[in-house]
Every structure is written in structure tokens, then in C-alpha cells.
Amino acid sequence: MSTRDLFDTLTAKLPQFELEYLEGKDPAILVRAEHLLGLALYLRDEGGYDYCASITGVDYEDRFEVVYHLCSMKEQGPPVVLKVHAPRENPEVPSVVAIWSGADWQEREVWDLMGVRFSGHPNLKRILMWEGFEGHPLRKDYPGPVDEYTFS
């Protein structure tokens, strides 16, 4: 099912979720953080999206965006893209670990490197950086790698 068709079905069936369609090379569905869990549960149980392929955090400087790529093991075709926005100050998005167990480490990675909290995550601690590390290195305002040895 294309994202457009899925979006039309979802808006017809679940008008309370206030979804938004985002055009692009990979069209996406924008969902508000408070409706994410309800939509995810619906997509898994009714839509057949049993496989959460990837969770990504992106820092757009004025906001954070968490991107979910969902697939169905039984169907062909590209993943469906869900996007959730979070504010720059204290970003928080509900965790989908209860819906897809595979989201566990991916959410921990987003928390560790991007600093987006996932409320309801069973074990939200750093995964790639060490315990006690301060800051979230993938944020745009985190100083990048210092290149001491190049000359130009």
C-alpha cells in the first residue's frame, strides 16, 4: 500500500489523530507525539506493520524529528515513514518498545546520541557512549571532530 493510500485510509478511520501528509522522495505521515502510540498500535495490529525497520533522530536546530520506518513481513514494497516532532527543549516522545521489541536499542541510540527521551522505555540508558558521558554528540550544537592534522 502506498503511503498516500495508507494516509487516506488512516484519516478516514482515525480522524481523531490529526495526521499530516508530507510530500517528498519518501512521502511520510506526520503524527503528533501524543497520538504516536495509538497509531503505532493500530498500524501493527490492523495494518500488518509487524516490523519496525529503523528509528532515526534528526536535529533540525529548531526541533527534533524522530523518523520511523515500518514494514510488513508479508507484503512487498517500500517502508512506510512516520515522523514525530519534538521540541528543542526537553524533547520527549513516547516509546514504542511495547509495540515492537526491536525498537529498544534503536531508541536508546537516539537518546544517547541525539538526546531525545523516550517516555515509557524500560531501560533508557546510554548504549554507544559510556555511562557518565555528558552531552549528546549528534546534536548540531555539539562540537564536531577536531581535525588537527590537515593542512590546506
Binding site: G24, K25, D26, D50, Y51, C52, A53, S54, T56, V58, D59, V67, H69, C71, M73, E75, Q76, G77, P78, P79, V81, W100, S101, G102, A103, D104, W105, Q106, E109, L113, R126, I127, L128, M129, W130, P137, L138, Y142, G144, P145
Partner: protein, 368 residues
């Protein structure tokens, strides 16, 4: 006589340990010989690959992806250049597409040879089968060396094609390799598949039921061994995979033994694809005109391929600059590793390393 009581003991394994495929730590809780819980601790090889990738320009990132899963450099490059080509709407020439398929399928054979070799190491059959398999990897890296100039970090795929045409000696050598490989796989199976120790150590060990595998987001041979016929080459055919005949190998039980069998079967299928690609390889250009400066149009894409270890995806965001705004890697080993505690719980402590070996990890892409 007082009653004997058992008590759980916490054991640290790694990060330096010969069986952990790199620098990888496990916190094991055991009750006698039985594993109660396993907590993987990763991150020892973390180098913030994604942050450095945002500093590199689009072209510099192609060789940088070689460092992710260093056993499968060609697959990493393939996923990355396909994602950039999707973003910039570039269509590589036909010959380049076939050369790419030849390279990634050779890569799949290399990866599975190494995976099987290491699995045998884990079983205590130290390095004899490993070197037996590595001989065939050696032939492939020789072919990579003559084509790309490097054995492990080829930097051969370019945005819009491949770096150079195949040298004249490549095709005869590749055909010879493809003709000889099925005979070797038969020999390997005669030596290993029916081996009694292999069967006793691998059958019904680390069983992963299909629903659990799907929930954990497992992909690749790990998922297919559990009986789920999900292969991105079929589920979302990319490049020219829709032109080839091949079957998807699936297991029935989902144990370590099935994962081994799936890898053997996948090597045979790769031989089939290679035969077709070598037969149909067209003449012509191998790249669109190369540019020194590459700028991707504004947008975001996700592109995934069936890498030897599972789904390898790149999520790229471009703001119209010479470097990516966001460069995210969905590494198959990282997601597959989450199923490790499930597979180890209730098993014996000696089976932990066998299960790790059957997942086929490369810490370079887990830790990034």
C-alpha cells in the same frame, strides 16, 4: 545433611575475549551451568561514524562506509550509493549495474564463508575450517584487488556507477571461481553438515521462533532460519535484482544449525545470480560523468538493501550542501544483536559463544 542450594552468579565476559568478534562485553547471570540472563554491552568501538559522516562530503562517505562491516565493504558501498542515487535521481549505466551485482554477490559468499568459519571456531574446531573457508575469500579479495586496488577497503562503487571498468583478467578468473565454488560447498558440507559434534552442539541451540525474530526486528539469515521468507531482494527489489532467478533459503526450527544451513544455501543462490550476471553482462560505460563536487538536492530518503547480515539501510537528509545534513546507518548486526539474550536464556553457558557466532556480528557496524 543440609539441603544444597543454588545461587545465581554474575560473570563478566569480554570486552577482550577471543569469541566475541571484536570488542564486545556480556554480563552473564548463571545458575550453575544454566544461563539465567545475558546483558550485552556494546560501544567499545564507537567512533561517532555518523557525526564524521556529516562532516565528510557526499563522495568521501563512500570509502568511509567500508569501515562499517569490514567483512562486506562492497555491500556497504552499494547501500550508500543507492541511497544517494535515489536522492539525486541518478541512473547508473547498465554495465555498472551488473558489475555491482557481481561484486555484492561475491561479497555475500565472502561473508558467509567467514561466518561459517568463525562458527566452527566457536565450536572448538579451531581455525582449520576457518582457513579452509578463507581460501575462497582470498580468491575474491584478489579479484577486488585487481579491480579496485584494495583488498578490504575497495572504494569501488561511485555515485553514478563504479570507479573503473573490470580489468581483462577479472572475468576469466571470476568464471573459474563461480564454476569451482559449488564443488567446494559440497566438500564443506561433507565435512561439516553431517558432523556429529556439529549437530550436537548446534541443533536446538539458540532457538528463535519466527514471531520473536520479527518483533526484535531481526533480518537476514537469522530471520530466514526461523522460517520467515523475507529477503529485501524480493520484498523491495532494488537495482536490477528483479532480473535474476534465485530462491530464498529458509529454515524450519530457527536454531544455530538452521542458520548455518541457510548460509550454505544462500551461497549456492549467489552462485546462481553470479552465473546469470556474468552471462548477461553488457558492454558499455561504467559510470555517469564523474564530478569532483557533488551536491545532492534537498530532501530525505531511506534506502535499504539485503546485505549479507540483514537489512542495511541508509537514511540521508540533504540540505543542498556538499555534505549530508544527516547520515544515519541502520546496521543489521546492531538490531540482530538484540535477540541474543532471548536466544541464550535457559541454555548452557558453553552455548553462548555458539549463539554469538551464529548471529554473525561485526562490531564495526554495531558500534559505529
Amino acid at each position: 545433611m543440609t539441603e544444597l542450594k543454588t545461587e545465581t552468579v554474575t560473570i563478566n565476559m569480554g570486552p577482550q575475549h577471543p569469541s566475541t568478534h571484536g570488542v564486545f562485553r556480556l554480563i552473564l547471570t548463571v545458575d550453575g551451568e544454566t544461563v539465567v540472563d545475558v546483558e550485552p554491552v556494546v560501544g567499545y568501538l564507537h567512533r561517532n561514524h555518523e557525526k564524521i559522516g556529516e562532516k565528510n562530503n557526499w563522495i568521501q562517505n563512500t570509502p568511509f562506509t567500508d569501515r562499517l562491516d569490514y567483512i562486506s565493504p562492497m555491500s556497504n558501498e552499494f547501500a550508500y550509493v543507492l541511497a544517494v542515487e535515489k536522492l539525486a535521481e541518478i541512473e547508473p549505466p547498465e554495465r555498472a549495474k551488473y558489475i555491482r551485482i557481481i561484486m555484492v554477490e561475491l561479497n555475500r559468499i565472502v561473508n558467509h564463508m567467514v561466518a561459517i568459519g568463525f562458527l566452527m571456531n566457536e565450536l572448538g574446531c579451531f581455525f582449520t575450517p576457518m582457513f579452509y573457508c578463507l581460501r575462497w575469500r582470498e580468491m575474491v579479495v584478489d579479484m577486488w584487488e585487481m579491480t579496485a586496488g584494495s583488498r578490504m577497503m575497495p572504494n569501488y562503487f561511485w555515485i553514478g556507477g563504479v570507479a573503473a571498468d573490470l580489468p581483462p583478467a577479472f572475468l576469466p578468473q571470476c568464471r573459474e571461481f563461480v564454476d569451482a565454488l559449488p564443488g567446494f560447498i559440497d566438500e564443506l558440507e561433507r565435512l561439516i553438515t553431517d558432523n556429529e559434534i556439529m549437530q550436537m552442539r548446534c541443533k536446538d541451540v539458540g532457538v528463535l521462533p519466527p514471531d520473536v525474530a520479527i518483533a526484535y526486528g531481526c533480518t537476514g539469515p537469522l530471520l530466514r532460519a526461523s522460517g520467515v521468507p523475507y529477503d529485501i531482494r524480493r520484498a523491495e527489489p532494488y537495482s536490477i535484482y528483479d532480473r535474476f532467478d534465485f530462491d530464498i533459503a529458509v529454515g524450519t526450527v530457527g536454531d544455530v544449525y538452521d542458520r548455518y544451513l541457510v548460509r550454505i544455501a544462500e551461497m549456492r543462490q549467489s552462485v546462481r545470480i553470479l552465473e546469470q550476471a556474468l552471462r548477461d553482462l553488457p558492454e558499455g560505460e561504467t559510470s555517469t560523468p564523474k564530478k569532483k563536487k557533488f551536491v545532492a538536492p534537498v530532501g530525505d530518503v531511506y534506502h535499504r538493501i539485503e546485505a549479507p547480515k540483514g537489512e542495511l539501510g541508509f537514511y540521508l537528509v540533504s540540505d543542498g550542501e556538499t555534505s549530508p545534513y544527516r547520515y544515519k546507518i541502520r546496521a543489521p548486526s546492531f538490531v540482530n544483536l538484540q535477540a541474543l539474550p532471548y536466544m541464550c536464556r535457559g541454555g548452557k553457558i558453553a552455548d553462548v559463544v555458539v549463539v554469538i557466532g551464529s548471529i554473525d556480528l561485526t562490531m564495526g557496524e554495531v558500534d559505529r
